[in-house]
Symmetry: C2
Subunit: 419 residues, 2 copies
């Protein structure tokens, strides 16, 4: 005798899973659009620097064209945002994600005024670079939030990879900007060289994190890209910049090459990002289709008239595999004839182990991401309280971990707990 509520709740559980997957799909699409917008903003930052540094002589046209490209990308992002997050009554919006979106939108609202200051040469290249970097950071936060709230292991892993790749590309973008500022001033001061060296180190560290979470295929693509002639030439240029003394004068031709090579590398990285955002959207779509098929199957099975007769009572209450009595392993079981379970009980068991599997996979990915986050938070604390840079903070954690023979996460946790 099976109550119809039981069916309804099994179906509702599946429907809840489907709604979560629909939201996950929308978040994956959002992240793809954010990745592209950040790419365009990074281009605008670079061109704005060259425009500012040349006293409006260079890159005027290119910059105007780039403003249009950013605006177009912004429009399609805003449109999607409205469709998916504001005008859907059953959207399972995350307060965290939307809060980060509104912060990024607020930053975007200030872009017009920033552009005006640039056009009028009323802002330094440094201040402009800072402003663009904050804007880009606000969009990166949206991607981290999306990764944090992702409810599927594979998609969460892809989002973490994307997060690392976006961070890496942003470090490359800042390296390009600092290099351009140096060339424009004709002065690579010790401070500037130190900064470029730190960005190089940070890129190595982020690459390590990227490769830890990336699939073998993606890692291969990454290595192929970093092994290209352009990347090698860029490495040569980096070494050259580090040789410059304070008095060195630089050749404008090298400035062009620097900008072009750095830009080429960033474009390559963007292709990799597109690869990942494509995978994200395909994964989200296929998980959704799978869940919908399961729902159809459930409904089909529940509608089969003969199935009800075959139903055996007492399936749950007399299933030895079902926990209940404490220390029950050795006790003789009450058996029902004929042995077997009702189909509904089977479905429920399938659904329960499906959920458990998803949870376990997700927990594993989240633990890794959480470890990364703990390290980042510990570094931030060190930066603020010991007044040191991020690379120095990273090194400090690393050294402590080595001397105490434990992981950097252990050290980071200790630090955060005791402070």
């Amino acid at each position: 005798m099976i109550n119809s509520d039981t069916f309804q709740f099994l179906l509702a559980a599946k429907q809840a899973e489907i709604k979560v997957l629909q939201q996950l799909g929308a978040n994956c699409e959002l992240v793809s659009l954010v990745s592209e917008l950040v790419h365009q903003l990074q281009r605008e930052r670079g061109m704005s620097n060259l425009y500012l540094a040349s006293g409006s002589a260079l890159f005027g046209k290119e910059r105007q064209a780039q403003l249009v490209a950013v605006t177009l990308q912004e429009q399609s992002l805003r449109q999607r945002l409205q469709q998916h997050y504001l005008h859907k009554s059953d959207a399972r919006n995350s307060s965290r994600l939307l809060s980060s979106v509104s912060m990024a939108l607020l930053a975007m609202d200030d872009l017009a005024a920033l552009r005006e200051q640039i056009s009028l040469q009323k802002i330094s290249t440094l201040a402009s670079t800072q402003a663009f970097s904050r804007l880009i950071h606000s969009w990166q936060t949206v991607v981290s939030e999306a990764a944090d709230i992702a409810s599927d292991a594979e998609i969460c892993r892809l989002l973490v990879v994307l997060q690392h790749l976006m961070r890496l590309k942003e470090l490359a973008g800042q390296e390009r900007a600092w290099g351009s500022i140096g060339f424009a001033k004709g002065d690579f001061s010790a401070d500037l060289r130190e900064r470029l060296s730190e960005l190089d180190t940070a890129q190595r560290q982020t690459t390590e994190q990227l490769l830890q979470s990336a699939t073998a295929e993606l890692a291969q693509q990454w290595h192929a890209q970093e092994g290209s002639q352009g990347s090698k030439d860029l490495t040569q240029l980096r070494l050259m910049l580090q040789q410059f003394t304070d008095q060195n004068c630089t050749v404008p031709a090298i400035a062009d090459i620097w900008y072009q090579l750095a830009t080429e590398r960033m474009d390559q990285m963007q292709l990799l990002q597109n690869e990942i955002t494509g995978q994200l959207q395909r994964q989200a779509a296929s998980k959704l289709i799978e869940a919908k098929q399961q729902l159809d199957q459930y409904q089909h099975k529940l509608n089969l008239p003969t199935q009800h007769d075959k139903t055996l009572i007492h399936s749950v209450l007399f299933d030895p595999a079902m926990p209940g009595l404490y220390g029950d392993a050795s006790i003789e079981q009450h058996r029902l004839e004929p042995a077997g379970f009702s189909f509904l009980y089977q479905l429920l068991n399938e659904q329960a182990s499906h959920i458990n599997r998803i949870q376990a996979e997700l927990a594993q990915v989240k633990t890794k991401a959480e470890e990364h986050r703990v390290q980042q938070r510990a570094k931030m604390w060190l930066m603020q309280h010991q007044n040191i840079t991020e690379p120095a903070a990273h090194k400090l954690l690393q050294q402590q971990a080595m001397s105490q023979n434990c992981t950097m996460t252990d050290i980071a946790r200790q630090l955060l707990q005791t402070n």
Copy 2:
């Protein structure tokens, strides 16, 4: 120049938080009803045992009255379930919670058949106890799932306390059942005494966990309750049972006292549970009111016409506190006059730190709960693979932790990772 999207997303973020709190409130109400249903089922289990053991001579009337009490409680639970989880289009149902609900409902569907077997004396007291215990366990799983998915630290903590208390009460219920079986048979075999001793140990362990997560106030109530004359008398009886040899004959009068004292203790525990479920519902309601008030405040601020004029541009892009450029701590900042932030930026910062605080608090509670879960999983593994009981598995973990000078959670993690 602030785009109206930015407002909309700030409001949508708050609305998302409100929807999550509404669902949390529904889950708290569900858990309260489950706690009461389990209490009634435990009473039915006890009476059914006495009815079976006496060959239908005793507790016939009491049992019939109890069936009605269970049915009434079941009806109000089912009604609430339908209202909150099936007939609300905007419900943010959790697939995990609903899946556990459907499993528990399926178990409930079998209760009628179990009762029939009991009425006809076609089932042993042991098999009946097993069946009731599985049914109760399936409802306890609903409470654990609710705790797992709770998005508020204080409510999550209360749910964890409730979980421990329900487990403790169930162990007490099983102790009552085994004692009753022993008295009915007039035989406390070594096996039965071992079982009672294990349940005693398990109750001590669970009490430890309960007191670790409970507030000082609740801990005090618990100690007061365990210090009552009834509880002391029960402890005396426990010691007496352990003295019985296999040949001992027991006196029926003691059986009555055992049942009454154990029942009294369980009723006291239920009062504590009611206290907690009351707190849960009040907490959920007050968090919801708070969030709604914040939304009202936001809307009020956004509607103030003068505020728009005071808005300062570039707030995000030129805020030194906003991360962006790598290693940016020492760089001179581009300042805007007059210094200050737009009210919307303030609201967003408030909202972001509100979310961060909630997340951090929740993470702390979840970490504790996760440690408990890891320990439980490791025990399960040991029970299955070394064919030992739960108390033995607990002891094993404890001994290893002591000998390796680390926590039981560390040992449990190692075990799960290497197996």
